[in-house]
């Protein structure tokens, strides 16, 4: 009996692995085949360019990070854009001419010797951005995570609004230009393999290379793969199971000895880490960090990816992220121009990109109403949606006269 069970399981696991490997190989080939795909009649126009794929993957990585907070631990974070901003600005601080009071270089590529500012290698900046964002996540999390779900949502939203206003206004912090205000920090250094890489035929700097898009694309895929790997492994770890326990029943989880605050803070911090890395990468790809990029809409956009794909389901979030990312970067514009060319009278002015957030809103509402577990549901989450979870009954909260549903002493 056991043997059959094990074999059956290993067969499914193997099949899963095969699918994953095939998908990865296809993804790595994408820059080569994108051109020929685009020449297919009818559907060719809808094939995203490699550059667009980079943006889609960067946002999908953030969505996978957000999924750890929202999907695994059940903490609704409406200010995830703050982590993206911290990551992007870290890249700006450590790999641009922002601090021209000094001139430090360490492994930076594609810039002349002696250029003012701090220029670390982007490969170093990515983990640094992740760590700084992780610290930001802890700093935001510690005071707020003891709040109940909906209050947490509004406070994270508050942080998501404060951070962009801060970077917009922090061009004169007691006379010190920290963020360069509305102009943002630009140019941010490129990724690249430097002189060592150039010696073996790899591009010295992606931006100056003739194959810029494909190198950024491959880096994005690698970052996404690392994120997905960590995400899947964390889900099965002790910490990940503690997150799910908290999501399903906070009181029972606490009774089983799970330290609530510490576990939630880790969810927040680790989710933030990947947001920061993806943010720094995207800033390097775009070549700048601008305050106008960090609005509440982005937080909702990322949340929408998680919901569409399926909260807690990594593969679902990747699917949701790629679909919405595609619509955002190219899809809506392409569909819009098709509609305008269709010759139907009144529609020649119709521009769906203008209403993209309305469209995301409709997706959110329809998904919540009709398929709350997402396109590729996570098994446990689906059960929760059907059977309901034990949640703090609201009348308890009011009688306690406080919004925390447990004793702050127990951490």
């Amino acid at each position: 009996m056991t043997g059959v069970g094990t074999r059956a399981r290993s067969f499914t696991a193997n099949r899963g692995h095969v699918v994953v490997v095939v998908l990865i190989v296809l993804a790595l080939l994408y820059p080569q085949i994108a051109g020929s795909l685009a020449s297919i009649p009818l559907i060719g126009d809808f094939v995203p360019a490699t550059d667009s794929m980079v943006v889609m993957i960067a946002f999908t990585t953030m969505a996978v990070g957000l999924n750890m907070v929202v999907g695994y631990a059940g903490l609704l974070d409406l200010g995830y854009v703050a982590f993206y901003a911290v990551g992007a600005y870290t890249a700006g601080w450590f790999a641009s001419q922002q601090f021209d009071q000094v001139s430090w270089q360490l492994g930076a590529v594609g810039i002349p010797e002696g250029l003012p500012g701090i220029h670390l290698s982007m490969w170093l900046v990515l983990p640094i951005a992740g760590l700084l964002t992780l610290l930001a996540g802890i700093a935001i999390g510690l005071p707020t995570l003891r709040l109940r779900g909906d209050y947490l949502a509004i406070v994270t939203l508050g942080f998501g609004e404060i951070v962009p206003q801060f970077v917009r206004n922090a061009d004169n912090v007691f006379g010190f230009d920290l963020t360069h205000g509305t102009f943002g920090i630009t140019p941010i250094d490129s990724l690249g393999f430097g002189a060592v890489g150039a010696a073996i035929g790899l591009p010295e700097s992606f931006r100056q290379s003739s194959e810029r898009s494909q190198w950024y694309f491959w880096t994005a895929v690698v970052i996404l793969l690392i994120t997905v790997f960590c995400s899947v492994r964390l889900r099965e770890s002790r910490l990940g199971r503690a997150w799910v326990a908290i999501r399903e029943d906070e009181t029972a989880a606490a009774a089983m000895g799970i330290p609530l605050m510490r576990t939630k803070t880790w969810a927040y911090a680790i989710g933030a880490f990947f947001g920061g890395v993806a943010g720094a990468f995207y800033a390097s790809f775009k070549g700048g960090a601008f305050p106008a990029d960090f609005y509440f809409n982005i937080s909702v956009f990322l949340l929408c990816m998680v919901i569409l794909g399926g909260m807690g389901s990594v593969w679902g979030v990747i699917l949701g992220g790629m679909i919405l990312g595609y619509l955002n970067v190219e899809g809506l514009a392409t569909i819009g121009s098709k509609i305008q060319q269709s010759g139907v009278p009144k529609l020649d002015e119709f521009d769906p990109t203008k209403y993209q957030f309305g469209i995301y809103g409709i997706i959110i509402v329809l998904m919540m109403l009709f398929r709350p577990a997402g396109l590729i549901p996570e098994r446990r989450h689906k059960i929760e949606m059907v059977e309901g979870v034990h949640d703090t009954p609201f009348y308890d909260v009011q009688h306690e006269g406080t919004l925390t549903d447990r004793d702050p002493e127990d951490d």
Binding site: G74, T144, I154, G158, I162, G358, V365
Partner: protein
Amino acid sequence: MGSTLTKLRGASITDMIGLLLVALVVVWLLVNFFKSPTEFVNIGLIGLTTGLIYGVVALGYTLVYGILQLINFAHGDVFALSGLVASTVIISVLGLDVNSSTIAVIGGLAFTLVVIMVGFSLFNASIERVAYRPLRHAPRLAPLITAVGMSFIVQNIALATYGVNYRTVPNFIPRTNAIHIGDIVYSWSKASVLIIVIPLLIGLSWFVRSTKQGKAMRAVSQDTEASAMMGIDVNRTISVTFLLAGSLAGAAGIVYLLQFNMRYDTGFELGLIAFTAAVLGGIGNLTGAVLGALLIGFIQAFNEGLALFAPGSDWTRSMVFGILILVLVFRPEGILGEQTPEGA
């Protein structure tokens, strides 16, 4: 004396920091007051007017939160849409402008108020019926996420109908002064906010306190299951709450339109400010919402208007959210939080 000392010693560090922050704000206000009293009062009057508008929006949040424990993100956008529709009614349907007679202005405004309040109470109740009611037994996050989605849908309805330009109405309410004492002035256009809002607040308070439906609302917000056992139709009561909240959003839209210009996304930021006000006062508590909104109105006006040590309007949003976060950290039940079970 002795008991005060023990109390102080018993207070935690967070309480001390909280008190210190409040003390700093008070000192800042006092310094500014003695510097130039008339300016201080004039700015305070601006704060009173904005605060009242925030209060009407905040009431909508607090009513819904009190009964459903749901942050109705769409409320701010319903408010903005109502203001935009009101501008159409005032300009295109009624044709009010600077030359309109006083009676035409009063009659026209009354007509607009009735039309918009009725229309948007129905609109708000249908949002509840379509988007929130099916999720009554889903996990808590589900209706909250749906509310975020509804917010974007309503915002885009406004965008599709009115485009991206700011809308405003002609100054048919004279800018002459209603009150004029020394250098302290208060114009009729600002006074109109008081004239519209204060009766509304009295009416709402009467409704919640004295009518059978209001009693049902308070019962449901205290204990849904028990009130259902007592024969209260919970769904109907929730619908009534959304009707009320929608009509308040409509009224707020009109008074806001009389003061400022607005466009499709005005409701998002104002909604967040109003929600902060509701939390500041103690969510679920009607008096608290108005009190919190007045406080926020004053803080905003002083921040933007005062000369000494004021961070200025660049930082208003950060300050409002900073207050929200501080309140939730130091005193999550809000200023009047203890009264919550009886409040609404």
